[in-house]
């Protein structure tokens, strides 16, 4: 997984980390086990991707956490925004 800079306080500064799972939800659950608290900063309590977060499986934008990663092996965690 490729980690945007605002999230690297959780990964000890690492820009690339490893997690396991066949779907985006499984990957994020494993990520949160490894880096507690990280998931909630990206995904709200209703399971929605937060407004200024984007997830890409390879080059395909993820629309919902139930999506399979398919053949992609890299999930990009992108922070988009944020004004002045």
């Amino acid at each position: 997984m490729r980690v945007a800079s605002p999230l690297r306080s959780y990964t000890g500064g690492a820009s690339s980390v490893t997690a396991q799972g066949g779907t985006v939800a499984e990957l994020l659950a494993d990520l949160d086990r490894r880096y507690p608290g990280m998931r909630f900063r990206m995904i709200d309590e209703q399971g929605a991707i937060r407004p200024h977060i984007r997830l890409y499986a390879g080059t395909r934008e993820v629309q919902g956490l139930g999506e399979s990663m398919g053949a992609e092996s890299v999930l990009h965690l992108i922070c988009a925004l944020s004004g002045g």
């Binding site: 909630f40 309590e45 200024h52 988009a80």
Partner: protein, 370 residues
């Protein structure tokens, strides 16, 4: 560390500490540079403990906790979050943690948090894990009380007040929604808005839907509450149920609109407000470009202007609802922070003012710790 003025800003947290023998305040920070800090609150039951309400432009809301007077911080394991919505329910997600209040002295680990959209949350482990207060968030009237008439920055739950005589007696305020009271620890709530104007509504005589900007309970006389509202300054003495508009005694040329209200730590007749221009399109800046704090010493029957040391003209300050506080000295000092990043200190109850910090980011909260 002694006395500290904690500054929450749109771009991080700062601290101001007085120098020895009246020397200039020392500014430290930023901590959490780039984070949006809505509130930093010390635990009066254990002064080493502070909680901070934070988010960033990208990342969701959370709470940080310090057990060493703000030297180091640890994120809450379970930040405030609404319960999972049912299939036929409106899904609510916390966008920001806006307000923090320590619980009763008999409940040392208890804290309350208010959020946007309007939600009430409780922690019983010192702010590490938070649970929704179902009595408010799922109250049958909640959808009407918190109807989504949001301020431009969102719909806030704020001014959570705990009666020092009774841990189960609580108040809270919604912008927009009004003031609400619980006498059973948050299991049930009722509006407490009679007497408050709601000039912006088609029916101003509604039981809720008002816009309290800040509500304070006097610590030594908890039956007395003061309120700075969108529509004036008010006081209520419980068990009375009707607020009295005490802002009518303010000079007509100044009016009684503003965001913060601050109470004297010991004298229940003494309070301070910082009037803003609430005319026409609501500039929400110092009236006439001449900033002034107003003090009452008779529970709102009269007010006096305190502006010595503040700019005399062309100063268009905005001071938000959490951005004014008072210290615990015998002759207490007042502090306010502006959206333009200045902090002002008013010694001896605001008798004279001096700027103690500038060039900070937009200030959201100013709180006192000792």
């Amino acid at each position: 560390m002694g006395e500290t003025i904690w500054i929450g800003t749109r771009k991080g947290a700062f601290a101001l500490r007085p120098g020895a023998r009246g020397r200039a305040y020392r500014l430290s920070g930023p901590q959490f540079l780039g984070h949006i800090i809505h509130h930093i609150v010390q635990d009066p039951r254990d002064r080493k403990v502070l909680l901070m309400a934070a988010k960033t432009g990208h990342l969701g809301p959370t709470v940080f906790r310090s057990t060493d007077r703000g030297r180091s911080w640890k994120e809450a394991t379970r930040p405030p979050a609404f319960r999972k919505a049912g299939d036929d329910e409106k899904a609510r997600a916390v966008a920001r943690v806006f307000w923090l209040t320590p619980g009763h002295s008999s409940e040392p680990g208890t804290w309350y948090a208010g959020t946007a959209p309007a939600g009430l949350f409780r922690s019983v482990d010192g702010g590490d894990s938070w649970q929704p207060v179902a009595g408010f968030n799922d109250h049958p009237m909640n959808a009407k009380w918190a109807a989504g008439l949001a301020t431009p920055d969102g719909e806030f739950l704020h001014s959570i007040l705990v009666d020092p005589r009774d841990a189960r007696h609580l108040y809270l305020a919604l912008s927009i929604g009004g003031v609400f009271e619980s006498v059973d620890g948050g299991a049930d709530w009722a509006p407490l808005n009679h007497g408050i104007a709601a000039d912006f509504l088609p029916d101003p005589a509604v039981p809720f839907g008002h816009d309290p900007h800040r509500v304070e309970m006097h610590p030594a006389q908890p039956d007395r509450l003061y309120q700075q509202n969108h529509c004036g300054i008010y006081r209520i003495d419980r068990p009375g149920v009707t607020w009295t508009r005490i802002g009518t005694a303010m000079p007509k040329s100044v009016g009684d609109i503003g965001f913060p209200i601050v109470l004297h730590p010991r004298d229940p007749d003494v309070a301070w407000v910082l009037p803003m221009d609430g005319t026409s399109v609501w500039p929400r800046t110092s009236v006439g470009g001449k900033p002034a704090v107003y003090q009452t010493r008779d529970a709102g029957r009269s007010w006096r202007r305190l502006s010595r040391g503040l700019p005399e003209r062309q100063a268009w300050l905005t001071v938000l609802r959490q951005a004014m506080c008072i210290d615990a000295r015998e002759s207490p000092g007042l502090y306010f922070g502006t959206t333009a990043g200045e902090v002002w200190a008013g010694a001896n109850g605001g008798a004279s003012w001096r700027r103690i910090a500038q060039h900070l980011p937009e200030i959201y909260s100013v709180t006192f710790a000792r």
